[in-house]
Every structure is written in structure tokens, then in C-alpha cells.
């Protein structure tokens, strides 16, 4: 697998099987904050099943708002969000909760509950499926517990199951965050700056892990990311957001200096792009 794009094959297969079915479709999605800031300006977007997509753009472009409007952690002002065949913006609180189970979320700075154990953090991904008393007493159904162990093994943290989350390193925490999102058995992953506070090597490992798992399970993913070069290494499609509007939608190779200038503004982009090409050569050797 040269240059790290693990996800292409799986995605194309899925797309062919489903005849171009989309996993997520946004229609004229608008978010205006109380302060009057228009964070999203009528965004239209379709994500096919199994596609891993990067969302790039300057700080304040609306990337975080966009993915939070999908699972309604932020309430969109207008427009529609379709998750497969379900329209999310009109759902009642109970129905929204059930649909949130199909959308796993991975956070910047991990967002693990620090004082809970690794296992409790992973199992918290099942909260949408189990009743209050079971979750309160930490008596999860055996299949959930088995799946939690399997996922911890998959992300290489089985030995850490009973450690408290705040005892782990950054990379380990994000792996727990990934396991927590996956135990929901989601159809879509919403990933918000997964590598923002990680070193370059760990960043790549985390991105690779997310993309591998998406390919294994045929998941679609939207990944907010600042590191353009890192995004280019791993995803099949890039969306460039600027001032709440889509400025670019295409393959990672399409990110030319001109395109980056449109998204981010004037700057010398040659170094960014060269770096990726160098890395591609290294990876190909």
C-alpha cells in the first residue's frame, strides 16, 4: 500500500455495490450563531458510503461547526441533514439519541472522561444501547464487554483496560477515543482534529489507524484536519472550507498552490506540497 491511501479500494467497492448510495447528505446547511456570525453558509455535501473525506480550512472557517451540526451537538439554523434515509434536523430528542448511535465521534484533545477507567470510557460508547441502571452499575451485556476487549486489543491497549484515562499518553488516549467511537457500531465517523495535540509520528499512526478501521468496517468518515500534508497522505477526497462555504471539493492531488491560496489566503505553498511528494517517494520505496 504505497502513500498510505488504504481506503480507496474498500470505498469504491462499497460505492459500486450500493449504486452510488450516500451515507450522509447535507442540503443548504446554515448555522448562524447568536452573535450574528454566519458559521455555515448553505453548505451542500454528499458523502458516499465508505468514503474517508478530509475537511480542511483556516481556523474559524466552520469545520467544527459543520461536523457538530451533523449530530446536532450544535443545532443548525436551517437546512437538512440526511443520514442514509433519516432526516436528522427534524428529529425529537429521543429519535435523535437513537440516530446519534450511528455516528461515532472522535475529538480534538481526546475528550475522554479523565477520572473513569479506559474500559468505562470505551463502554460509554454503548450508552445509547443500554438502560440507565445497567450503565449506572457498570453491568454491560457480555457481548458489549467482549467487543470492548476486542477493540482495545485492536488499538493495542488491552493491558490498559483498568487504568484511569488520565494515566495514558496522548496517542494512547486518542486510541481509546477511537475504540469508544467504534463500539457504537457506527455507519459514519465524525472526526474533529484527531491529531491536533500529537507529535508528527503519532499523528500519522492515529490517521492510519482511523483509515484502516474505516476500510475494515466500510465506514464513511469526515475528518477535520489542519495538517494539509497529513490529510493528503490518507484520504480520498478533500473539502476546503472558507468562511463557511465550500471552496474546493476534489481529490487530494487537486490541492495546488492556487487552490490552497483560495482556501487559506496568500502564502508560499510550495514547501507544503513538496513535503507530501517527498513523503510519497519515501513511502513508495
Amino acid at each position: 500500500m504505497p502513500n498510505g491511501r488504504f481506503c480507496d479500494g474498500a470505498a469504491r467497492n462499497d460505492k459500486n455495490k450500493a449504486g452510488g448510495a450516500f451515507m450522509l447528505r447535507l442540503e443548504k446547511l446554515v448555522k448562524t450563531y447568536k452573535t450574528g456570525d454566519m458559521a455555515l453558509k448553505a453548505v451542500d455535501l454528499e458523502v458516499p458510503q465508505g468514503q474517508v473525506m478530509a475537511l480542511i480550512g483556516p481556523s474559524g472557517a466552520g469545520k467544527s461547526t459543520l461536523i457538530r451540526c451533523i449530530n446536532r451537538l450544535v443545532e443548525p439554523t436551517s437546512g437538512n441533514v440526511h443520514l442514509a434515509d433519516v432526516e436528522l434536523t427534524g428529529l425529537s430528542a429521543g429519535a435523535l439519541r437513537r440516530e446519534r448511535r450511528r455516528m461515532g465521534m472522535i475529538f480534538q484533545e481526546y475528550a475522554l472522561v479523565e477520572r473513569l477507567t479506559v474500559m468505562e470510557n470505551v463502554l460509554s460508547g454503548r450508552l445509547g444501547y443500554v438502560g440507565f441502571w445497567r450503565s449506572f452499575l457498570r453491568r454491560y451485556p457480555q457481548p458489549d464487554v467482549d467487543e470492548a476487549f476486542r477493540l482495545l486489543d485492536r488499538v493495542g491497549l488491552l493491558a490498559m483496560a483498568d487504568k484511569r484515562a488520565d494515566e495514558l499518553s496522548g496517542g494512547q488516549r486518542q486510541r481509546v477515543g477511537i475504540a469508544r467511537a467504534l463500539i457504537q457500531n457506527p455507519a459514519l465517523l465524525l472526526v474533529d482534529e484527531p491529531t491536533a495535540s500529537l507529535d508528527p509520528k503519532t499523528s500519522r499512526q492515529i490517521m492510519r489507524l482511523i483509515c484502516e478501521l474505516c476500510a475494515e468496517r466500510g465506514l464513511a468518515a469526515i475528518i477535520n484536519i489542519h495538517d494539509v500534508a497529513l490529510a493528503q497522505m490518507f484520504v480520498q477526497r478533500v473539502i476546503g472550507l472558507r468562511f463557511g462555504a465550500v471552496e474546493f471539493d476534489g481529490p487530494p492531488d487537486g490541492l495546488t498552490p492556487d487552490v490552497l491560496t483560495t482556501i487559506y489566503g496568500e502564502e508560499d505553498w510550495e514547501a507544503t506540497i513538496e513535503k507530501v511528494e517527498d513523503e510519497d517517494e519515501v513511502a513508495a520505496q
Binding site: 448511535r101 465521534m105 480534538q108 472522561v113 479523565e114 460509554s124
Partner: protein, 277 residues
């Protein structure tokens, strides 16, 4: 930037060599002086209004000395039966009132946190907290003694009521300053409200809640010694009787026991807080 703008170069040149001072809090110098001098003048005027009757103080020194000397020979034995009954009553009152007060404080504290409660619930819970905090324990105790009669029942209700104001407010403030992203992550999994509280909020505030509860237990015990003075039962009633009879040695014994119990509670709360952090 390698090429500096000509304007910034001259600006820099004028600044070089000048002294730098932190910008003052109050910008206008005359206002700064008026505020400062006004405050000092007020303080002097205020201290001058305090009247001290020095001859009365001289006479009082004797009684004070008696009181202090009583601590060198505390009398635990002659009123031991009264002291024991009073202490038991105080401890029962404290524990019962703390448990009930804390149990009621938790839902009110959740409701009084602006980041998790809807506005109407928030207003009601903040209202309860405000009422509880505005009414001093002694005033509540006098009212409740009038309703329930003399004895520890009035003290129990007083301390429960006071605990609500204290604990709900501080719990709500801790919830308001929690890390939002941890709670958000739990919400994103499709958790119900109660599960969200149990997984996303509770772990974040638990150490503080336990610390505050221990502290409140300690306050309630000390308060129980005061409430006896207005007839709400407990060791305070025994202490009051001892003072009325000028039995300073018995009073000293009671105070020493109170101090020891408070120190024991402090030690215990230290151990518990270290465990849960």
C-alpha cells in the same frame, strides 16, 4: 519580517531608552488619587467611631482569665452524663442533617448549573439556594424551635436547610466550570440525560462534592454547638447551661471535646479526599 516600515522605525526610536510601567487599573490620575485617599479617609473615620471603654476592659480581663484558666483544669466528670447525652444528640443531629441535606442538594445543584439546566429550572433552583443562604442558621433555628418546640428536631431541620444552600451553590459552580468536551463526548454517543450526568458530569465533580460534603459535616457539627443556645438541642444546650451556672471548667471540657471532634473530622476528610482525587 526583515524590512521594517519607516513609521515603526521612528516609533521604536522614540520608545528606546524610556522607562516601562504596567498600565494602571484606573487610567485617570485624579480619579486614582480621589479613590485612594477617599478609602483611607473612610477607614480612619470608621475606626474612630469604635468606642472602647478601657475601665470595663480592665475589669473584664479578670473574667477572661478565669475562663482561660478553666482550660487548665477542665472538669469532664461532674456533668459527664449531660455532656455525653449532649454530644450524642449533636452527632446524631449532624449526621442525619448532613445526609438529608446533601441528598437534597445534589438535584438542586444540578438544576442551579446554567450549563446543564434549562432557564426556568435554573431560576427556581438558584432561588432556593438564595433563600437558604440569606437566612442565617440562628434565625431559621429560632423559627423552627417555635414550630417544632425545643429539642434536636428543630436543629436537624435547620442544619438540613442550611446544608442545601451551601452545597448546592458550590456544586453548581463546580459543574459550571467542568470540562465541556468530556460531557459532549458522552452526549454524542446517544446517552440519555441521566447517563450523561452519570458518565459525563459526575466523574468530573465527584472529588469536589465529597470534599464539600466532608467540610459541611464539619460545619454542621460546629453549628450544632451554637444551635443549642436557641433551644435547638445538642451539645450547645449543655454548653449554655454550663455558662449559665458559671461552671467554666465544665464548659472548658465541652469545648475541648468539640475541638477534638472537629480535628478528627478534618483528619478523616483529608484521608478521604486524597483517596478520591
Amino acid at each position: 519580517m526583515s524590512t521594517a516600515h519607516p513609521d515603526t522605525t521612528t516609533e521604536l526610536a522614540t520608545l528606546l531608552g524610556t522607562k516601562w510601567k504596567k498600565p494602571p487599573l484606573v487610567k485617570k490620575p485624579w480619579l486614582r488619587w480621589v479613590l485612594g485617599l477617599g478609602f483611607i479617609a473612610y477607614l480612619i473615620a470608621a475606626y474612630l467611631t469604635i468606642e472602647v471603654n478601657w475601665s470595663r476592659v480592665y475589669e473584664g480581663l479578670d473574667r477572661g482569665a478565669q475562663f482561660v484558666l478553666a482550660f487548665t483544669s477542665p472538669d469532664f466528670s461532674s456533668r459527664w452524663g449531660d455532656i455525653r447525652d449532649g454530644m450524642l444528640e449533636s452527632i446524631i443531629m449532624t449526621v442525619a442533617a448532613s445526609v438529608v441535606g446533601i441528598a437534597i442538594s445534589i438535584p438542586i445543584g444540578l438544576g442551579a448549573a446554567r450549563n446543564i439546566a434549562p432557564l426556568p429550572v435554573y431560576m427556581i433552583c438558584r432561588g432556593i439556594v438564595a433563600i437558604s443562604r440569606a437566612l442565617q442558621e440562628i434565625i431559621v433555628a429560632i423559627l423552627l424551635v417555635a414550630i417544632f418546640g425545643f429539642g434536636p428536631l428543630a436543629g436537624f431541620f435547620t442544619l438540613s436547610f442550611a446544608t442545601i444552600g451551601f452545597l448546592s451553590k458550590l456544586l453548581a459552580e463546580d459543574i459550571e466550570s467542568m470540562d465541556r468536551s468530556q460531557a459532549e463526548a458522552i452526549k454524542a454517543s446517544g446517552a440519555r440525560w441521566m447517563q450523561w450526568i452519570n458518565y459525563g458530569v459526575q466523574p468530573q465533580v465527584m472529588p469536589r462534592l465529597i470534599g464539600l460534603s466532608m467540610y459541611r459535616l464539619d460545619i454542621n457539627f460546629r453549628e450544632s454547638a451554637i444551635l443549642g443556645l436557641v433551644g435547638a438541642g445538642g451539645i450547645g444546650a449543655t454548653l449554655n447551661t454550663a455558662f449559665d451556672r458559671y461552671e467554666y471548667d465544665t464548659a472548658a471540657a465541652i469545648l475541648i471535646i468539640i475541638i477534638l471532634v472537629v480535628m478528627a473530622l478534618e483528619y478523616l476528610s483529608g484521608i478521604i479526599r486524597a483517596k478520591v482525587q
